[in-house]
């Protein structure tokens, strides 16, 4: 956090040009193995900056890569469809070095005897077709070679953004298939900021809790509910937070929310102290959670969101955000409908996240969306709590003068919108995502609308 220096004792990810990566705790006085890309002494990395690509040189040394040009990611695609390929014959004889010579260069490079850029340069110089290639094709060619030969790695201090990308590609179930755009939206919708007090159900290995800590640091409180005796927040561990920041999080198993097990005092006095301290902590956490008045609730759980909401919605303060994530839309619909019809929520929305990356035009490479992309970023449903003051305004006639007629007018209009054309809907300024429910939930809609007027009701002469 707020620091780009690599430190001993911290988690770090090393990204290799092959696309592989390695995540581990970097210790002083160790040899870090990069497989066929060689190895280096950890002390040579400690104290340096993250995100800088380094090259392994000689025996265990590293130095920042000088020419970053060819490390720029771009779409390699699978064909070389450039304008001048008419003159390029995919002819093995265009390479003047023999296979054996290339192999020799390769092994010299891997042993650290020659620089990788020297190897690539040699291969390029001896490729008769190279000069005929377009800039972009040249860049592609060099990048392919570099991925094969370069002993380059980039150290990165883990962030939840890194985890989103990493696990989406490698093990999506670990993070509930969360994509970075969706995680980012959860954080803004939930208004996560320093000083807030949050309730969270995070079955995404701690990705949500971690992202909240990144945005809160040591300011605030996060209470997390989980299903086992201890939470699985693997990813939080790897984010290198200080103890002070970690103390923002308290967690409680669901099965202790309503009932704590009877306290069995151990006989040994030392054990007793520890058991008592644990017990006190447990009781405190539970009491804090049940005290409610949370600034927001975020749910990314494998359990039924509707059941979770029915349990937890009373714990939210008024005018606070609710955000529920799922990789599948269907699993959210019942919960969404429940919230939409509830008098304790307004502003209910259901969205799917959509993200498209483009190849950027450096190397005259053209600008186009990448050939392969992630199909969906999952679904979010969001809402805002309001006070249900219990005031019910009956339909026609019972509403206070000046509101009733309009309220009903609106409900009628909504009904038209709900069963009518999309045009009507757009034209009706009252149209919102709850419209669709108008045919089945007319009275609820009317109440919600009437609620909006309640503030004024008491004052109207």
């Amino acid at each position: 956090m707020l620091d780009d220096t690599i430190r001993a004792g911290e988690w770090v990810m090393l990204k290799l040009p092959s696309g592989n990566s390695k995540i581990f705790v970097l210790k002083a006085d160790e040899r870090v193995e990069l497989g066929k890309f060689g190895s280096f002494d950890s002390n040579n990395l400690i104290g340096r900056h993250q995100l800088v690509p380094y090259e392994v040189v000689g025996d265990g040394n590293i130095r920042p890569v000088e020419n970053l040009d060819y490390l720029q990611e771009f779409d390699l695609g699978d064909t070389e469809e450039d304008a001048s390929n008419m003159t390029i014959v995919d002819d093995p004889t265009s390479q003047r070095l023999t296979h054996q010579e290339i192999e020799e260069l390769k092994s010299q490079s891997l042993e650290g005897k020659v620089d990788h850029s020297a190897v690539i340069q040699k291969i390029v110089q001896n490729n008769a077709a190279f000069e005929k290639k377009t800039d972009f094709a040249k860049a592609k060619y060099i990048q392919r070679k570099q991925r094969k030969f370069a002993k380059i790695f980039t150290p990165i201090k883990p962030t939840t953004r890194l985890f989103c990308d990493f696990y989406l590609a490698k093990k999506p179930e670990k993070t509930r298939e969360m994509r970075i755009d969706t995680l980012s939206q959860i954080m803004t919708f939930a208004n996560v900021r320093a000083g807030s007090r949050f309730l969270v159900v995070d079955d995404a290995s701690g990705l949500i809790v971690g992202a909240m800590l990144e945005r809160m640091h040591e300011h605030g409180k996060i209470f997390a509910l989980h299903d086992k005796e201890t939470p699985n927040f693997d990813l939080v561990r790897m984010l290198n937070f200080s103890d002070e920041v970690m103390s923002v999080v308290s967690s409680l198993p669901w099965f202790h929310l309503h009932e704590l097990p009877p306290f069995v005092a151990p006989s040994h006095p030392d054990a007793l102290d520890r058991a008592q301290a644990r017990r006190n902590q447990l009781e405190r956490t539970r009491d804090d959670i049940l005290a409610g008045a949370f600034d927001g609730l975020v749910v990314a759980s494998r359990f039924d969101p509707k059941e979770i909401l029915i349990k937890l919605e009373p714990l939210l303060a008024p005018s606070k955000p609710l955000v529920v994530y799922s990789p599948t839309k269907e699993s959210l619909l019942e919960a969404y409908n429940h919230v939409r019809l509830s008098r304790r929520f307004v502003n209910t929305q259901l969205t799917e996240s959509w993200l498209r990356e483009y190849q950027v035009p450096v190397f005259n490479s053209g600008t186009h969306p990448t050939m392969m992309t992630s199909g969906s970023g999952g679904y979010l449903f969001t809402a805002t709590t309001v006070v249900d003051d219990g005031v019910r305004i009956e339909k026609a006639g019972a509403a206070p003068p000046g509101t009733g007629g309009q309220t009903m007018g609106m409900a009628k209009k909504r009904k038209v919108a709900g069963s009518g054309s999309a045009k009507d809907e757009a034209a009706n300024s009252g149209a919102d995502s709850t419209d669709a429910g108008a045919c089945t939930a007319d009275s609820d809609v009317a109440q919600t609308v009437a609620d909006a007027a309640n503030v004024g009701n008491s004052t109207m002469e």
């Binding site: 780009d4 220096t5 430190r7 001993a8 004792g9 911290e10 400690i46 104290g47 340096r48 993250q50 800088v52 970053l68 490390l71 720029q72 990611e73 953004r161 970075i180 755009d181 980012s184 939206q185 954080m187 803004t188 208004n191 900021r193 320093a194 945005r215 640091h217 300011h219 619909l333 409908n337 307004v346 502003n347 259901l350 969205t351 959509w354 993200l355 990356e357 483009y358 950027v360 035009p361 450096v362 600008t367 309001v386 003051d389 000046g402 309009q406 609106m410 809907e425 757009a426 009252g430 995502s433 669709a436 429910g437 089945t440 909006a452 007027a453 309640n454 503030v455 004024g456 109207m460």
Partner: protein
């Protein structure tokens, strides 16, 4: 939008009067004032001390939906992704140009509070003044420093000190050289340029590359909103021809007679909304790598000694 606000409404507060997601309005609560919507006239004095009923506490996200538009503005999906890429968090120092309607500024301020600073620049005098006033009204003056200035001509007047820069300008490439100078050379600098047209992106990318920015990536980010509806599916009329009149009339008749037999099965359905935002802008991101320590040799702090040095 400041986290120290009182939980109940006070004079001077901004609240969001909510009717439905498409109908919300900001109200600044002042003695003796009223505001109107289609339900009638409301006296501000009656709001004091209320918990937020359907007068909502303004969050940066709600503010984005109701703020007075003086320019094109940023919306929540873009704001979210940009905030993640720029790693906005408490204590980060950020530059933004132009301020425009202040949509993103409010969100940035929320993310970097309590100890970060946002330096925001706007060359349109009236807009700059209005934005400054709004930031003050929303209790953000401690975090946001707003300046009236042409950043393409005159730069930012800030050197070696921020880690995040956001440019929403017609020609962001004209500001990149000055932006580069504003980054803290000992930190990874992150920049985002926000441009609606692909031609702008191309010029931006070329300039970024020429100036030595690294890891240039470009995205488009949107959301697809859904409508949820419970649909009642009618039974196949296998029993014989429908009696005279519409299905509806038939249903009404039979509902009374034999509610169980004719009760339709219902299913919760969802479909994307008909007309949605299809493009906002392209988001171009890049990083500026820190300059290595001048002696070339890496220091070897352990976690403990580095903490002490901070």
């Amino acid at each position: 939008m400041n986290s120290n606000r009182h939980p109940a409404i006070q004079y001077g507060d901004t609240v969001i009067a909510y009717v439905n997601p498409e109908s919300m309005k900001p109200v600044e609560v002042a003695a003796g004032q009223t505001f109107q919507n289609r339900f009638g006239t409301f006296h501000h004095d009656d709001m004091i001390g209320l918990r937020f009923v359907h007068l909502l506490e303004p969050t940066p996200e709600l503010w984005t939906l109701v703020l007075p538009h003086r320019t094109q503005i940023l919306y929540q999906p873009d704001i979210s992704l940009i905030s993640s890429f720029l790693e906005l968090q408490p204590g980060v120092n950020v530059i933004e140009a132009g301020t425009g309607s202040g949509s993103f500024s409010h969100s940035i301020a929320r993310s970097i509070a309590p100890n970060g600073k946002l330096f925001t620049f706007e060359f349109h005098e009236e807009r700059a003044a209005k934005a400054k006033l709004e930031f003050a009204q929303h209790g953000l003056s401690d975090i946001i420093v707003s300046q009236h200035r042409d950043v393409c001509k005159n730069g930012f007047g800030i050197f070696n000190s921020v880690t995040a820069i956001f440019l929403d300008l017609p020609s962001p490439w004209e500001a990149l050289e000055n932006a580069k100078a504003a980054f803290d050379p000992q930190r990874v600098g992150r920049i985002c340029c926000f441009s609606p047209c692909i031609e702008q992106v191309q010029r931006t990318c070329e300039t970024l590359k020429a100036l030595g920015f690294y890891d240039i990536r470009m995205f488009e980010c949107l959301v697809r909103p859904y409508e949820v509806q419970r649909i009642e599916s009618e039974k196949l009329p296998l029993a014989g021809p429908t009696p005279k009149g519409s299905h509806k009339a038939f249903k009404r008749q039979s509902a009374g007679a034999d509610a169980v037999a004719s009760s339709p099965s219902s299913v919760l359905t969802s479909k994307p909304k008909e007309s949605v935002r299809g493009h906002t802008s392209f988001l171009t991101f890049a990083v500026l790598l820190p300059t290595p320590p001048s002696d070339g040799a890496a220091p070897h702090p352990t976690a403990a000694s580095a903490d002490a040095a901070q």
